[in-house]
């Protein structure tokens, strides 16, 4: 039996559901990222083949009864970015699902088999699926999602308008769509999810079947996969975060798997690869969208377009499913392909897509029941690109090219003629320059505007495809014929991003078939290729007893109360009897783990909000212990305090915590505080600070003491030591995007700045962005102050040291008091000189040059 886990309390669920209370470390045969038409099918095939599967989904788990047919409620819950998903220029609204089941939950349930024409094209472009494979997996998909033809009685008036219009114009290839909907209630709210569960989306078909077993499928919702950890030509793990409705991190997850399948959709999959420096030169290039426009006709008779199935009829004379060329020749469309589909949107969604001033807009919407609506979708030859902007945001650039403008113009003209032939009083378009067309003779004005000012059109797209195309050549494609990423033995991409070009019809069935074939090939090759892949035991950045500095507050509290106190008091003693010397400090060049045997470094839980009375402890602290006769004494160095404070430790038994060590502060002003410590081993201690005694005192916060810790937690002292030991980076290795944070004794800051280096070793520029307020571009200099950026106009300068190929540390100096402007709460991080303030920075490479937005 499978299981779904998430972070939100839910009403009763049809599937077994648990609410998470802690970070997760999972081990599985396969980790699948994304639960839409690609991921769900792949997860199903692998689970049914006996593989243990962990599936990560960014969105939440919502069922039919949750879907209340209201745009304002459902779009935020089900749609990616709450429906505000655009290209960089904000000209194309891209509809994608972000919920368990992905876009199959919010689409119009339209099903087209992978067109013969397109399959032949793809074969020539390197797709090696045999006809038998296409046929076998298409039959499986059609059966699983219950594909059936819309019946005559299910055609609502809006669909019949398109049929009548096509007949009036003498078109030949138009028919009722096939849909994956069983006994549809015809409520018309497909875009808000199906309240009646008649739509056979991934949740009610593939995922439901896989969860019912046999097989082992564990699904994690509200989980954003962020890191694909690579090494040795393979992916060894996936790391992600569980984000709540406000975008705040609740928990973390690490999945160790023999194979990873990325099925996050064409745009998100591309970004995930690029952000992990995988296929940087090819991923995200050539994304197509099926750009679409609406043509609305206002009629003197009643249509009520929203009543019934929104998308049940389509015209194929000009598309990839055409059976003849006569219409294309007659209408001069031989150089482009497009499809015309009936479409009706819920009122709010519809109104947001229509141009015109407020009065005209209202006047038109008031006649909503008399509107007929059709959508025209180009099989685009334009190519978009997903890349990483210099501030680490996802960038998507797409420009409608001349051929596609021509297709959209021609399609608009044809539908315009249809509506006028059926008696339309006027047309509403999505071009702001020509919002209304009142006479058939004025249609050329619209087509001219589309051809020459397409950038002003309000375009929509719901079918992002391609970007990680299949191909044999790693220089020109991202995945091979088995959908495996070139150069990585166990990373498969199974979604629309592997299409070599646009499929030309609503793509959900094609996505499912491709994912089904890719998964079947994984099963076929399992023993030879995947079974022997080693499974990492890493817990990554999740909080565990092994890496307690990653604990969240609640988990740390639980750990202190349940973990055994496993060492004698002598385990507290630090190297050199509490007097630090250089040899007691080291850094592992392979893992970058820091060992500091002279000091127990204090850490707070990652979501700890420190109470003000603990200042200056709040900025960080260290403990050092030495033996004094038969007693263990020591000092607590609170960062920011003038002098260290003496502490004394002894064996103790405390309420809730049990057997532990008690630490007292014998001197004022800290005398009121006590600590209990549980020594886990020679390098990790869990602690709790009390105001008063542990029996009856007030718990202030929990903490961790460690003598060995990951590089990301390096202290100011570590930073200084490393800065002295390392040298300036090779300028030629710098190009790419680096994210930066500040290092201090209280922990690390959030990511506060980004550097994008471009150019070569000789002429190197840094496009810098500090906080939200300072950005610019400056040359990278190598002079008496070392190697770094020197933007004279702004006044900061930095000096860098290379730690390894992907990490640098450095110091950033700024004129006195200037950092306060740039860095929030800089007091925690900055050191102050007479004229200059300095922060210690850490830089991590996050993108290679080819992945960066031009």
């Amino acid at each position: 039996m499978g299981l779904i886990r998430g972070i939100e309390e839910m009403p009763p669920r049809k599937e077994r559901y648990e609410v998470l209370t802690d970070d997760v470390v999972e081990t599985a045969d396969v980790c699948v990222i994304g639960s839409g038409a690609g991921g769900a099918v792949a997860a199903h095939a692998l689970a049914k083949a006996g593989k243990s599967v962990v599936l990560l989904e960014r969105g939440g788990y919502y069922e039919g009864r949750d879907m209340n047919q209201r745009d304002m409620d459902m779009v935020p819950l089900l749609w990616k970015d709450g429906g505000m998903n655009f290209d960089d220029a904000l000209t194309i609204a891209i509809a994608q699902g972000a919920c368990l089941g992905g876009s199959t939950v919010i689409n119009d349930a339209v099903c087209f088999d992978p067109p013969e024409r397109v399959r032949a094209e793809w074969r020539a472009l390197g797709v090696n699926f045999s006809d038998e494979e296409w046929a076998e997996h298409l039959a499986r998909v059609r059966s699983m999602i219950h594909v059936g033809r819309v019946t005559e009685e299910e055609l609502n008036r809006n669909n019949r308008m398109l049929r009548a219009g096509a007949k009036r114009l003498g078109l030949r290839d138009h028919w009722e769509n096939e849909r994956n909907c069983v006994n549809c209630m015809q409520c018309g709210f497909c875009h808000n999810g199906c309240h009646y569960d008649t739509k056979q989306n991934m949740l009610v078909t593939y995922l439901h079947d896989a969860l019912a077993g046999p097989g082992d499928l564990r699904i994690y919702c509200s989980c954003q996969a962020e890191q694909l950890l690579t090494g040795g030509g393979r992916v060894e793990g996936v790391e992600g975060r569980f984000l709540d409705a406000d975008g705040h991190e609740r928990f973390r997850i690490r999945v160790n798997a023999r194979a990873v399948v990325v099925s996050a959709g064409a745009i998100a999959s591309s970004f995930l690869l690029l952000r992990n420096r995988i296929a940087s030169a090819t991923a995200g290039r050539g994304v197509v969208l099926h750009p679409s426009v609406l043509m609305v006709g206002l009629f003197p008779y009643e249509i009520k377009p929203n009543q019934g199935i929104p998308m049940a009829y389509s015209v194929h004379d000009f598309g990839v499913n055409r059976r003849q060329e006569i219409s294309r020749t007659e209408y001069g469309c031989a150089d482009g392909e497009f499809m015309i589909e009936s479409i009706a949107l819920p009122l709010l969604e519809f109104s947001m897509g229509m141009p015109g001033g407020p009065l005209k807009h209202h006047e038109f919407l008031a006649k909503f029941n008399h509107l007929a609506i059709a959508g025209m979708m180009a099989r685009d030859q334009s190519r978009g690109r997903v890349s990483i902007a210099s501030d680490d945001r996802q960038s998507f650039v797409y420009e409608v090219g001349p051929a596609d403008r021509k297709s959209l113009a021609k399609a608009s003209e044809i539908v315009g003629k249809m509506w006028f032939a059926l008696g339309a009083e006027r047309l509403a378009t999505r071009h702001p320059a020509v919002p209304f067309v009142n006479r058939p003779e004025d249609l050329p004005v619209l087509t001219d505007a589309i051809l020459n000012h397409a950038d002003r059109m309000k375009l929509a797209a719901a079918h992002p495809q391609s970007g990680n195309a299949i191909g044999a050549d790693p220089a020109r494609s991202t995945v091979d014929g088995d959908c495996r990423v070139h150069g990585l033995s166990n990373l498969v991409v199974a979604d629309a991003s592997v299409f070599p070009n646009a499929v030309g019809v609503n793509p959900q069935v094609t996505v499912m078939v491709v994912a089904s074939i890719a998964a079947a090939r994984m099963v076929r090759d399992w023993d030879a290729r995947y079974a022997a892949q080693p499974v990492s035991a890493s817990t990554g950045r999740t909080g565990t007893l092994d890496a307690p500095m990653h604990f969240g507050r609640e988990a740390l509290a639980r750990a202190i109360e349940t973990a055994p106190h496993a060492r004698a008091i002598s385990a507290l003693l630090t190297a050199d009897n509490g007097t630090p010397t250089a040899p007691s400090w080291s850094i592992d060049p392979a893992t970058l783990e820091i060992t500091n045997d002279a000091t127990w470094h204090g850490f707070f839980a990652r979501d700890e909000k420190l109470p003000p009375e603990t200042s200056p402890l709040g900025a960080g602290f260290f403990h050092r212990f030495h033996a004094e006769g038969d007693k263990v004494q020591g000092t607590c160095y609170a960062v920011g305090a003038k002098d260290p404070t003496p502490i004394v430790a002894e064996e103790h038994v405390a309420p809730l915590v049990g057997k532990c060590l008690l630490v007292e502060y014998p001197e004022a002003p800290h005398r009121k505080f006590t600590e209990v410590l549980k020594v886990i081993d020679d390098r990790r201690i869990l602690g709790r600070l009390f105001e008063g005694r542990p029996d009856g005192g007030r718990r202030v916060f929990d903490f961790v003491l460690a003598r060995r810790y990951p590089f990301e937690f390096l202290t100011a002292e570590d930073h200084e030591r490393l800065f002295e030991r390392t040298s300036a980076p090779d300028r030629a290795t710098l190009p790419g995007v680096w994210e930066g944070y500040l290092a201090g004794d209280g922990g690390r800051s959030a990511v506060l700045f980004h550097y994008r280096y471009r150019g070569d070793g000789k002429n190197l520029l840094n496009d810098f962005r500090l906080g939200k307020k300072v950005h610019g571009s400056a040359a990278v200099a190598t002079d008496e102050r070392g190697t770094g950026t020197r933007p004279a106009a702004i006044g900061f300068w930095d000096e860098l040291r290379a730690v390894n190929a992907d990490w640098m540390i450095g110091k950033l100096h700024a004129p006195k008091d200037q950092l306060k402007e740039w860095v929030p709460s800089e007091g925690e991080w900055a050191t102050h000189g007479a004229d200059v303030d300095t922060v210690r920075i850490v830089l991590h490479r996050i993108a290679d040059p080819p992945a960066v937005k031009d």
Binding site: P11, P12, M72, L77, G83, M84, R157, N369, K772
Partner: protein, 223 residues
């Protein structure tokens, strides 16, 4: 003009349900058991269709001065009432789609929509949208003057009654979104004659009946 009622019945597993009796009754009859204006039994495909004669509506029409609202009483094969739909004014044709899978009430079910607006804002900020507006507020050096945007927010807040307010741009967006929700759900949509959502907003807290009612004022020109 004769009126007709048509429709279909399916169950929770999306199967057509035959043998279900559907009776059209007027709304709000206080004088005794409501008269049955017409009735039918669903066929093998779950479909039903029956006319309502003008004569049966005449007295009500005269009394109300407009088409009287009717409901559909849904009864199982034994004559036991399953539920009665909400009412809709009789039309040239009323289409009822009946779903016998509404489920029971779960009074303490979490309200999934309560955070919906905030989720949209968080997501849009992740996507980098709205950042210019947010910057505008964050970039202010001084407290906004009395009577400035803060006061405007106060007015909006009062309109929404009880929403917690702070200085952030997030809250401003939330308030504006709330206003839009209010607006969309209220008068303008009704004026347009748009037939909106057919189910209760929070189906777990108030499952009610599950019926879609699509009124047709006039025959379709192309039939």
């Amino acid at each position: 003009m004769a009126h007709s009622i048509v429709g279909r019945v399916i169950d929770a597993q999306q199967r057509p349900v035959p043998g279900i009796k559907l009776q059209a009754i007027p709304k709000g009859d206080l004088t005794g058991p409501p008269p049955v204006l017409g009735e039918a039994v669903s066929d093998g495909g779950g479909r039903f269709s029956f006319p309502i004669e003008e004569a049966s509506l005449a007295s009500r029409l005269a009394h109300l001065g407009r088409n009287p609202p009717v409901r559909l009483r849904v009864l199982d094969a034994s004559g036991q009432e399953i539920f009665t739909t909400r009412a809709h004014p009789i039309d040239w044709q009323l289409e009822f789609r009946i779903y016998l899978g509404g489920g029971s009430k779960v009074p303490d079910a979490p309200n999934l929509y309560a955070k919906g607006i905030r989720r949209m804002i968080a997501d849009s900020r992740d996507a980098g949208l709205g950042s210019s507006a947010i910057k505008t507020f964050e970039g202010k050096d001084t407290e906004p003057a009395e009577g400035g945007w803060k006061k405007s927010l106060g007015v909006v807040q009062h309109t929404l009654q009880g929403a917690e307010i702070d200085d952030s741009a997030d809250m401003m967006f939330a308030v504006l979104d709330g206003l839009m929700l209010n607006t969309v759900e209220s008068t303008p949509v009704k004026i347009m004659g748009y037939d909106g959502a057919q189910v209760p907003r929070h189906a777990w807290a108030a499952p009610d009946n599950q019926a879609i009612i699509w009124p047709r004022k006039e025959p379709f020109k192309w039939d």
